[in-house]
């Protein structure tokens, strides 16, 4: 369900542009709001969340979609951890539908999806690995890089069990916003995919904004 936010960017305590193909990792405190902006449109924000107090308790796509009874994420979706805790809740969304089935691109899956000789092309899971490698004090590694959310991606499921990759519902300046229900580590790969028409073969920047609970 589409819903606009009443928060003003001027009151954000943090603003950061994630360049296409880069990652961003940071910690949100309980009550803070995170907005992800699709600056130029149809760019995938491959996103993972971890309970900051117990990183093994992390975002779980399967628990989230099963408990809400729907495969798509939008306003009102509670993003659940593997133990069933609410990590964050989506409180605003100008797009209306986000994917959490398609996972993150990898150089290895690129070989299968596109061509064996695509094996050295940049991919989200390489960005994830670099992020956890450069921030190894967080105690994260490859086994923690689980199934993510693809904000701004449209991956419709058909009633007969097909999976399609449709043109995006997003556009320039569209955003999704969520409130942290506990302290969470957020890891975003701004998807570098050059082989998929979802982003018109043109990866573009994302912006993230954070508001403190006391300005809400």
């Amino acid at each position: 369900m589409k819903r606009a936010s009443d928060l003003h960017p001027g009151e954000a305590v943090f603003r950061y542009v994630i360049r296409a193909g880069d990652y961003w990792i940071d910690t949100l405190r309980a009550g803070q709001r995170l907005r992800i902006v699709d600056v130029e449109g149809n760019q995938a924000a491959d996103t993972l969340f971890f309970n900051a107090a117990d990183v093994a308790d992390r975002y779980s796509a399967v628990d989230t979609i099963r408990e809400q009874g729907n495969v798509y994420l939008s306003t009102g979706s509670k993003l659940l951890s593997t133990s069933g805790k609410v990590l964050l809740e989506i409180v605003a969304d100008t797009v209306g539908r986000h994917d959490t089935l398609g996972g993150a691109c990898a150089s290895e899956s690129n070989t299968v999806r596109y061509d064996l000789e695509k094996r050295t092309m940049h991919a989200c899971r390489d960005s994830y690995l670099l992020a956890v490698g450069q921030h190894d004090t967080l105690g994260l590694g490859k086994r923690d890089l689980t199934h993510n959310i693809n904000f701004f991606m449209n991956v419709p499921v058909t009633p007969d069990g097909g999976l399609t990759f449709a043109d995006g519902l997003s556009g320039p300046g569209e955003y999704v916003e969520m409130r942290a229900a506990m302290n969470v580590i957020v890891l975003i790969s701004n998807c570098p995919q050059l082989n998929n028409p979802c982003n018109a073969y043109n990866p573009t920047p994302l912006e993230v904004l954070i508001w403190d609970a006391d300005v809400l």
Binding site: A61, V62, I65, N70, T82, G84, S109, T158, G161, G162
Partner: protein, 248 residues
Amino acid sequence: MSTRISDTYDTVIGGGKHWSLKLRAGTLLRLTDTDGGANVGMMFYNPENTLERYNAPDTLKCQHTFKLTRGHCLYSDMGRIFCSIVADTSGWHDTVCGNSTARMVAERWGERSYQLYRNEWTQNGHDAFLVEAGKYGLGRRDLAANVNWFSKVSAADDGALHFDATHATAGASVDLRFEMDTLVLLHTCPHPLNRATEYPRKPVAIHIGRAQPVAADDFCMNSRPENLRGFANNDLYHLCGGGAERLS
């Protein structure tokens, strides 16, 4: 020198139980829902490097499918194929709904403790996987989206999920041909969307044997161009000494 008694093995895993085993490339694993209503949760790892594990999103997007059935291959996160579904009378298996949990089982059917109920206690899929994973040094961080064999969950146009309680019929079977050495964890706990009035304690028959060799016109390998490339990735792995020799 030991003598091989048989090239096949058959057993039955009762409902609400768990097991694990390592299967060599070339093995055929047949699961049969003997009574109807079964659910078999399953996870897959490369025993040489358990960081390589079944990846449901890659499996679905590589084959543009939401369900699993004959012709599909189950992919690892490394672009390789653990196993191919070479036969299937069920037509739809779920891989997006995860597992039942202790809290869910207690709320839905009431907790039946081991102390009071012994082997009739009500185990759950999540904890079953933790037990089997622990036998190989794996834990919470190593669990991922699993397969739920025999369970059909469809999505409507608006994305709403629907569990088909009539889907798992008695006698349904699925044949998995393993394309690389694989560590398999499995449980027979209820599907997390099963709202049967009684805890569904449904057994599954397991047959282990030798698969037919993969022919050039193999249905699974040729069902999509992606799968030809997945098999090529397995070939590279085996060329470079990965895994034991394929059973033949």
